[in-house]
Subunit: 236 residues, 2 copies
DNA sequence: GTATAACACGAACACTTGTTCGCTGTCAAG
DNA sequence: CTTGACAGCGAACAAGTGTTCGTGTTATAC
């Protein structure tokens, strides 16, 4: 389209505006522009800005202070990440809130390492690539305190947990009745997963498999290490 | 030099201000900041901006509109947070593309409805709010053919599946050796989950619990209905 | 010569925006 | 228990800023 060229005044306004924005980190006011290009009247500046808007060199947010924006056509001021990128990042940020990355601590099973405590947790060497990603709505507990364990061996079948399953845990040293927890018994060096019940001065540890009988132990013989938050099995 | 940390509000103000400037090409007003961080009074915003100025995170041109400037120190804070966020968001964005919504078909267990076939599947009345959201890397199979079942009762404990678990299935009418499948036996009206092995003209159905014995049936007595892709348990 | 558009002006006004004031509540230190 | 720092509030006010109005001058088209 054939369009009218900028007047000398209009060129001056654009150049001043660009420089002012680079130097001050904000657009100029109508009065500042007028002062710079020697227009005494705010309405003349307003008129010229209107013309520049018409011609596509800038856009205006009305009824706000310093509401000028230079368009691409006017050589967009580089100011960090572009608008579209910011929008994309914002959209993803919303989604991030709904998923949790859970670090894999190691294995659980007959010959596994000890489960972590609060102190250990901060030392967790994080290989994020191995994280288990889980929707938040599958989880109860504090997302920043969760860790995952891979099950090795058949030692946990009474807990209805198979070799190869993934167990997501939260560190916890006391249990409410009915909660499934990881416990060490007496001098055992491997943890077991059972439902915890405190009864008549003793602890009942109930296997997840309802056909198996519970075991009863003194409270001092039980060391609770964490609560089971989720179990995941990929059988094929 | 030992200095007081930023309050949560002050961090919010900085983060908001930086984002606003990137998006709008100008600093926010006192009132815009207040609205964003839920401070009702311009004097409280003014007070906090004064504190941020004292601590060196921003400077203010007084008696002009939008007179805020973020300093390098603020940029360091924002860049650190922004950078980490962007990296996390980018990493999760790669993964988020790989999430699957799996519709819940119904229940599985002793008195449950029949499992779906291919034909049934298209008739599935979809309440997306009940969908199970699962990372694709947890799944094998065709994401658009998956359905979820809630386990009711203890009839599946030989499959190491508890009452309350969620099982994600894919329709399938033949099985490879070792695959865990849902099968109907003879005239049974409820499905069972077992590992399938074709051996010497007969079928061995192996419980997931390795301590239990398999059953052997004629191939004609077995009707395979689907393959187990994932089992999810939320014990607490 | 006339009509119209572009460009310019001062002034007033409306609205936005920053600053100040007096007050209240919480919390930590002495 | 008292005091001071911190953080919050609503309201009023001062100043900044954008918009509108009525008017004038110059350039261009017919």
């Amino acid at each position: 389209m054939n369009e009218k060229p900028l007047s000398k005044r209009q060129q001056e306004i654009l150049q001043f505006t660009r420089g002012y924005m680079e130097e001050n980190g904000r657009p100029p006011t109508i009065r500042e522009i007028g002062k710079a290009v020697k227009i005494n009247s705010t309405s003349v500046v307003n008129y010229n800005l209107g013309k520049l808007e018409e011609k596509g060199y800038l856009s205006r947010d009305h009824d706000v202070s310093r509401g000028l924006r230079l368009t691409d056509k006017a050589a967009e001021v580089a100011n960090g990440v572009g608008h579209a990128l910011n929008k994309a990042a914002e959209a993803v940020r919303d989604v991030v809130q709904d998923f949790v990355r859970v670090p894999v601590w190691g294995d659980i099973g007959a010959s596994a390492s000890p489960l972590p405590t609060f102190g250990d947790f901060n030392l967790l060497a994080r290989d994020e690539e191995n994280d288990v990603i889980v929707p938040t709505n599958m989880l109860k507990g504090k997302p920043d305190q969760l860790y995952a364990l891979r099950v090795r061996g058949d030692s946990m079948i009474d807990a209805m947990v198979n070799d190869g399953d993934t167990v997501i845990m939260q560190p916890q040293y006391e249990a409410r009745n009915g909660e499934m927890v990881a416990v060490y018994l007496k001098d055992d060096t491997s943890a077991t997963l059972k439902r915890f019940y405190a009864e008549d001065g003793r602890v009942r540890l109930q296997p997840a498999n309802p056909t198996l009988k519970p075991i009863y132990v003194d409270p001092e013989e039980v060391r609770i290490q964490g609560k089971v938050v989720l179990v995941i099995r990929q059988p094929n």
